[in-house]
Symmetry: D2
Subunit: 365 residues, 4 copies
Amino acid sequence: MSSNSFGKLLTVTTFGESHGPAIGCVVDGCPPGLAIAPEDFRDDLDRRATGRSRHTSQRREADEIEILSGVYEGQTTGTPIALLIRNTDQRSKDYADIAERFRPGHADYSYWHKYGLRDPRGGGRSSARETTMRVAAGVIAKRWLAQKYGIAVRGWLAALGPLTPAAFDWAAIEDNPFFWPDAAMVQELESFMDRLRKSGDSIGARVNVLASNVPPGWGEPIYGKLDGELAAALMSINAVKGVEIGDGFAAVTQRGSEHRDEMTPQGFLSNHAGGILGGISSGQDVLASIVLKPTSSILIPGRSVNVRNEPVEVVTKGRHDPCVGIRATPIAEAMVALVLMDQALRHRAQCGDVGAVEPRIPAKP
Amino acid sequence: MSSNSFGKLLTVTTFGESHGPAIGCVVDGCPPGLAIAPEDFRDDLDRRATGRSRHTSQRREADEIEILSGVYEGQTTGTPIALLIRNTDQRSKDYADIAERFRPGHADYSYWHKYGLRDPRGGGRSSARETTMRVAAGVIAKRWLAQKYGIAVRGWLAALGPLTPAAFDWAAIEDNPFFWPDAAMVQELESFMDRLRKSGDSIGARVNVLASNVPPGWGEPIYGKLDGELAAALMSINAVKGVEIGDGFAAVTQRGSEHRDEMTPQGFLSNHAGGILGGISSGQDVLASIVLKPTSSILIPGRSVNVRNEPVEVVTKGRHDPCVGIRATPIAEAMVALVLMDQALRHRAQCGDVGAVEPRIPAKP
Amino acid sequence: MSSNSFGKLLTVTTFGESHGPAIGCVVDGCPPGLAIAPEDFRDDLDRRATGRSRHTSQRREADEIEILSGVYEGQTTGTPIALLIRNTDQRSKDYADIAERFRPGHADYSYWHKYGLRDPRGGGRSSARETTMRVAAGVIAKRWLAQKYGIAVRGWLAALGPLTPAAFDWAAIEDNPFFWPDAAMVQELESFMDRLRKSGDSIGARVNVLASNVPPGWGEPIYGKLDGELAAALMSINAVKGVEIGDGFAAVTQRGSEHRDEMTPQGFLSNHAGGILGGISSGQDVLASIVLKPTSSILIPGRSVNVRNEPVEVVTKGRHDPCVGIRATPIAEAMVALVLMDQALRHRAQCGDVGAVEPRIPAKP
Amino acid sequence: MSSNSFGKLLTVTTFGESHGPAIGCVVDGCPPGLAIAPEDFRDDLDRRATGRSRHTSQRREADEIEILSGVYEGQTTGTPIALLIRNTDQRSKDYADIAERFRPGHADYSYWHKYGLRDPRGGGRSSARETTMRVAAGVIAKRWLAQKYGIAVRGWLAALGPLTPAAFDWAAIEDNPFFWPDAAMVQELESFMDRLRKSGDSIGARVNVLASNVPPGWGEPIYGKLDGELAAALMSINAVKGVEIGDGFAAVTQRGSEHRDEMTPQGFLSNHAGGILGGISSGQDVLASIVLKPTSSILIPGRSVNVRNEPVEVVTKGRHDPCVGIRATPIAEAMVALVLMDQALRHRAQCGDVGAVEPRIPAKP
């Protein structure tokens, strides 16, 4: 199976380099009869796009998506859906001077040791440009989950460096360029980012994704667990260094009497588990959280080596995000949606309607 | 592909329930010519075994392993290696009273909603008994990695609830029942666990695994990244709620100038990345860290429902670990070793010896 | 994915060597709630067994099957079903003299060149002993297909060397040791086989399998087509050198006006296609046909080489079938049933009940 | 795994409909460093192209291929290679009258029952147009196999309806539009096809493919056998109804003393096995043979039904091949090459250089 493919029954294969002619993906396994059109991809591609505010990379890509196959008269047909986006704003000269030197903290060195050669333009295949197609594929999954199960998959920025939201309001999230759930803090974030950009440095972040209305029974033990697949999907996003489900690492110091989510006929009394028990959804909201490292593409000079193992100094100019975590929000949503849709199909295959065992306790008290 | 299988080229398929007649696994894809005998499994199975100290479950399994296939005259032949362990110490009556009620924080409720029926004896398939076979399969991977590349995969308990090691000594780890790297603290851990057991409660933990001597170039971008596969493998372990690579969630508040690992001809100057860049090993030590939630099998009564959605009270007697994280150490090592061996084979397939691009900087300064 | 695994959603992994301690398989993905017991395997294992008549190998294996997992209180639970059979009648000394020489027409030479070593006892992994587990797994698939869809998968010997049935009677097939559909010819077959055995030679055969009541819509274009998967499954049976669907190679000389199966509201007017169009079942009976080569294990001396490439003479004594095609009938049935069940689950995953588009023309006029 | 993907380590995913905007494929797993350029695809695409002679479909596609990714400065980089061809000569009106009626012998009826809807233009996804991308992907495999192992994969038309070659000359094959190895018969084939076209009917065919210089040891028992994978690959080609390896169905009436290929230090004495023993290459030439049914797209009216199950008469006008087998030759070559390259990588992963056990007998006496 392709290492550039993801998912067992809903399989997404992506291709393309940052500065190649195009990026694209093939989404295979989508049920027939789902209405989808090029404009349906607009919103999420815009949410991920660079150049939306001064706080993200200034590369401006139109990201016009073309549906090459799998859709007939506005509906999916069950055959593979190919999506294509032409790259239009490559400035490869920005990278010419680092073709032979390895940027610290980047994939340059490891790609070179793996393949013996590499496409240095804009990071080539290792660029976050690839995640555009994840978002595109995720749009299909989100639509299907919403229409068939009423599932909503929504993310937000849960930490920007040392800053964390003091309040939570779903409505606020889409009203600021940070996907921040606390409107009162947006000014503070703006200032933080302005100072950071001026310093030439970058900062880490945390992104949360919550999927609501997930029915109980999704997930395939033992090695296709819902949390296992979420972990793989989220860790595969560029710059992610950790994944948590529910309480995550906070559970290190918790007691069992505190962590276990008690149940009553009226519903669960808490959700420390993040909606997953034994690798299978419990009917509660599924919560995943990730950390995005601070990008290594910064203006502050760093020590490194070149292909001849000679010492060099590296300064990454180009157009980069001082906090890659911000734009990771729609990407993380897409990955969660793709995992959920894949698991939905897998569950239907093995268990049909058996999963709908009644009675079921409500997702929330 | 089987949801009870793991790995692309080194594929491990496990089977068996906690109180069924046996557990076992099939390891497929191992190169021919590796020397292996039943006694080679002894050490790691003992490290994972219950009943070694008063701090773990008192279920006593002999865990005598039988090699059913794939080995001829003491050497692997390239055909699938089947390993079998008979269950001998099942006390199913311990579980009879919870056949119709769901233990909070357990897989009972989610399995029942997935499959419409379940084997309630000892947790059935969702029991940590399954991890015995991971450890067994991991023995094969550890041997191959050690012999062919000199790789060592070693784990330790990095936190027991609120306690963390004040010192680190490889030699100490195997000298106490906690896999604790700080000999001076063992007495403190003993007391902590005794108090905990008496309280009828349980506690969370953190386990670290470090793989040294991993060559650069292992890992398959984009959806077969080394860190993505580690995340899936580790998150699939029972009770794991989070996975970190390198600095993990600490990177939320780090700056790029701090996080990026600078390079010199004499080696990397730090290892925040945990040995993985762009999903590919960098030649540094690979570090993964996981959190194990406090087990929900505790003596303190909890509210729950039964299959008719009636309120019930649940007390889990049986023989349980007050800290499942302790015995998770060899399990986590096994998963890391299996992922590494799989990636080694995948790298060899696509890149042959190309990966051995020279010069290479040393793993450590 | 394991090379010893078969199927995407119903995945069968087999293990074991001819003269090792045991053979077994793991069947993963079976829906929960299917009633199955060890005695349900008896009939088909007996049909495949050696030693039933003087016309097959005289190796006598009890083939007592043990269900190790996946079944609780007589029903499948949705977890992997492991099946085990101990080998009891190995006579490895029969093979001692050929450990260093390659039997012509056998896998000895190719295994040795692949792995650099091999288990020579009874052919090791390349022995048809492995097919016992296919038959066992096939029993599960046959039961599920029959109960859920009323599908019957039945095979027969369609040619024994130069002999072909002059008549066809379903009832006759199970009444003779040849799976021959023409009772009047059984005496002729007995004589033919007696002469053959006396000559020390072997003969080829053709086996047909027909699956009736298959609904339209099963099969996944383009690379998971029903006929493509049948071809892979059947070609993987030992000694098979060709696979046909429907008219097969007879279509070389057919015209389109003859081959195309015309349709009327009352049904198809013919079935040249063997029930598959564009890789998807059409609702007609699915017909597959295979050729089994004459076994190379014969008493007539043959020229060969040894591991040092020196010329040797080989005579295969042991206990062998003069016509391996005879016992292949239940094996071929099993493979067809496993492919169909896998495709049924795949269809259900992607298309749910959409496949049941009405009106549908009857399978037969 | 995607049902529109093929291969385990060299994975080809195709997409596109006959009359959609484009067809394409993603080839993942190709080793880095292979030189490849758009013009390298020209020859094989031309060999498969329609409109080359009056004996094939008159649809004229420029088939200009674009490399979208995976190649940098003329060399593969190890990342996925995406290939795209725009459809330019769709005449969808040709098919308007059959949108609601099912052509007998076509995938119309089965697609409709699978998906509940279909793209009727030119057969949509079930069109042989898809095979263009197989040929394109096959070019990469052929180049790699040739450069690394000196392997040549070559096909020819072995039967055109009742006609079979009376002589065999490699040089003749590429000198006539039939891929016919007997130059003296080409005039006879021309006449046969002219008469056939005039009659409005179509005819079946047989295509052979031979791969020479394949090393011993390729193929993964039990369910990834070289012959099993060839069978799946070849049966997945449109219109194929049967696959043979080596002597194929002729083995039904052969004796073991005749079929087994005896060996001497100077080489094998025959090649009835078609170069494969126990699913693993033996070092002899690999020979596969397929039957292509006569296309059902003919001018002779046929009985059928429409989507309301009413009786209709169908005449397929459009631009069709009276013998689809002719153009199948490069397609079959491509599939054999792709299977071999995939197996080469798989062998390298598990066995490294072990397969090169010496001494090895020559492929030919």
